[in-house]
């Protein structure tokens, strides 16, 4: 019989090793799933993980990687701050939508004015929208002790309703012949989030993601607030004795993650998506949860995890068009990845011993 023995401190080697092990296991299990769907597992895994990087059309697909990784990293870094402190914001999808709506509203309100201040103002409005939406669970948590998991999640459904109202009502393109969807930002230079270097997929959202990753890393490693976040997550009682005020952490973590998700939404709607439409949100807010865990709640790890997750998106689309893989299969694949991550995490916190051997040693 195997038995688990708690390590005095989590193993550092395994902490770095587990994500790779999880990816490997997911490839194997995913391959089995693809085989069951009647696809050649090797071809599918190669299409997802190899072709976007080094395949025939890689020059085009590589740009897509940053487009997808940007918002994922931006949201996941914010979520990771909270997850570290034991504050579970799982409504990033709603904050992402509200950020997009707030930011787009500012841009559309002044259409067609041309000024260099419009886009920065929209960025502020986007961050503010996400922050505001996250403040609802934060204030309810600090004032009324309400569960932030359920409230933030409920607000996703509310935000989706507001989005459909925005796309068909108050933000609809007045020149759009009655079709749902706002004006397209790609034809409004002052509010556009363009590709900065052609072919790389680099836009302002990706730049923001890089800045945020560095800022979050510094915050967690070098700043007192970062220390308090880590302490509150690992030893809540000790944190209270050390003078950490839990309510302040809740406000900060939820606010930061909401603002970052809002920024991601704004950059997405003005750039890759182009307009507010009923389904411009692609579930990034939920996928970012997987990204945060895959990156081990560490900003640098999250950046790598976001790139990997972007790879599954881009490669998944390739596999869908070239091999007829159902697009839902990719979501299953991403879900599996989170399962395996959580499962192999046991290796960094526990030592696996063979029970019979332990008895003999005594």
């Amino acid at each position: 019989m195997l038995r688990l023995e708690k390590r005095p401190t989590p193993s550092r080697a395994w902490a770095w090793g587990t994500p790779f092990l999880a990816v490997l296991l997911t490839m194997i299990a995913g391959g089995a799933l693809f085989a069951m769907l009647g696809k050649d597992p090797v071809a599918v895994v190669r299409t997802i993980f190899w072709d976007p990087l080094l395949g025939e059309y890689a020059f085009y697909l590589r740009g897509q990687l940053l487009v997808k990784a940007g918002p994922l990293a931006l949201i996941a870094v914010g979520l990771a701050l909270g997850f570290r402190a034991g504050i579970w914001n799982i409504g990033a999808e709603g904050q992402y939508i509200m950020g997009a709506i707030f930011g787009a509203s500012v841009g559309l309100a002044v259409y067609p004015t041309e000024s260099r201040w419009i886009f920065p103002l929209m960025i502020l409005a986007g961050g503010f929208g996400g922050w505001l939406w996250a403040m609802i669970p934060a204030l309810l948590k600090t004032r009324f002790n309400t569960n932030e998991i359920l409230v933030s999640l409920m607000l996703v459904y509310v935000a989706e309703t507001i989005l459909s109202k925005a796309a068909t009502g108050f933000l609809r393109n007045p020149e759009g012949a009655g079709f749902p969807g706002s004006r397209n930002f790609s034809s409004y230079p002052a509010a556009r989030n363009p590709e900065l270097i052609a072919g790389t997929g680099m836009h302002w959202g990706v730049v923001a993601a890089f800045i945020v990753v560095i800022a979050a890393y510094v915050l967690l490693q070098r700043h007192l607030l970062g220390f308090q976040i880590r302490l509150a997550g690992q030893a809540p009682r000790a944190a209270r004795f050390a003078g950490v005020r839990p309510n302040r952490l809740v406000i900060f973590c939820l606010g930061a993650s909401g603002a970052l998700a809002g920024l991601a939404g704004l950059f997405e709607v003005t750039g890759p998506a182009g307009q507010i439409s009923i389904d411009f949100n692609q579930g990034y807010g939920f996928t970012a949860i997987i990204v945060a865990f895959l990156g081990r709640l560490n900003p640098v790890g999250i950046l790598l995890a976001a790139l990997l997750m972007a790879l599954t998106y881009v490669g998944g689309e390739m596999a869908a068009t070239n091999l007829g893989l159902p697009s839902a299969a990719i979501r299953v694949f991403q879900g599996m990845l989170l399962f395996f991550l959580l499962a192999v995490d046991v290796l960094s916190n526990y030592r696996v011993r063979i029970a019979a051997f332990v008895k003999e040693a005594r």
Partner: protein, 310 residues
């Protein structure tokens, strides 16, 4: 008798039907949480139940087998949760979220080719002359068997938790797993059984959505019902009968807003359709604040993993 163009007898009767999915899921989750396990994957288990129940019913032609299939589908998924949290000691919040993300994807994969199909109808039970009683005939004697079964399950859960030895052991495990372990109870085994029961209930609830409420298959059909069920457990302060009250309250709100939409109310449709979620938040706020803090009634070991070091 009509109020604002809505017949109250039909309103009450349909709220009982509308409440069934969340009622089943919530009573299952109550048992899970009473055992000290926080399974946030209710939404994922419900939608797995919805699709596996739908597929079973379509192929066998029997709604009853469909509900069984729904329960089994959700239980299969919950085994992953049980393995991860009880054996590999993974974080329960994260694993529950993973269960939901995975369930949403997997159900949509399973459901390909099932869009637009009508499942076999679940008939209402024949009560003969009782159905003719004014008002009460419509309210009490016009439903299918699952409606009655769900209320019976609430009663059974209440009785078992309150009066039986098994219920006492379950609660002991949820209040203090270390003490229960010291007394010789198999904490992990009891929790796995509780998780399986919760999944069976969530799966049946999901199957009720795809077989009776809607009835057809579309992606994301549960639309947050699992999360509302989780909120109802908090609302009910972990008491079975209050789960029934909570589920009927939410069923009532759902039915009322649908009726108001149909009756052409002046309130915009969007505000009506977000009302169940907003009211869930409102109820959570009321229940978790003030003197009657629901949190005080939560099982003491809720969400904590158990590792027998000796």
């Amino acid at each position: 008798m009509e109020l604002f163009g809505i017949n109250p007898a039909i309103l009450v009767a349909s709220l009982m039907v509308a409440a069934v999915p969340i009622l089943l899921a919530a009573i299952g989750e109550l048992v899970v949480e009473k055992a000290g396990v926080l399974n946030l994957g209710v939404e994922g288990m419900m939608i797995m139940g919805a699709i596996s129940g739908f597929i079973t019913a379509v192929h066998t032609g029997s709604p009853a087998l469909g509900f069984l299939g729904g329960a089994l589908g959700a239980m299969a998924l919950s085994l992953v949760f049980a393995l991860l949290t009880q054996v590999f000691l993974a974080n329960q919040v994260a694993t529950g979220l993973a269960l939901t993300l995975f369930g949403l994807g997997f159900s949509s994969l399973m459901g390909q080719g099932y869009n637009g199909i009508k499942p076999p109808r679940t008939p209402s039970l024949p009560f003969g002359p009782l159905e003719q009683i004014p008002f009460f005939g419509r309210v009490l004697f016009s439903h299918d068997w699952v409606v009655y079964a769900s209320v019976a399950i609430v009663a059974a859960v209440w009785a078992v938790l309150r009066y039986s030895r098994a219920g006492l052991i379950l609660r002991a495990v949820g209040e203090s797993h270390d003490a229960a372990h010291a007394l010789g109870y198999k904490v992990v085994r009891i929790r796995v059984l509780a998780i399986l029961f919760g999944a069976a209930m969530a799966g049946m609830g999901g199957a009720y959505i795809s077989l009776v409420r809607v009835p057809q298959w579309t992606d994301g059909i549960t639309a947050g019902a699992g999360w509302i069920a989780l909120a109802i457990v908090v609302f009910a302060s972990w008491k079975p009968w209050r789960v029934l009250v909570g589920a009927w309250l939410f069923g009532g709100i759902t039915v009322l807003q649908l009726n108001l939409q149909a009756a052409g109310s002046r309130i915009p449709v969007e505000y009506l359709s977000m009302s169940p979620y907003l009211i869930t938040i409102l109820v959570l706020v009321i229940m978790s604040s003030g003197r009657g803090r629901a949190g005080l009634n939560a099982p003491a070991s809720l969400g904590q993993n158990f590792h027998a070091s000796r």
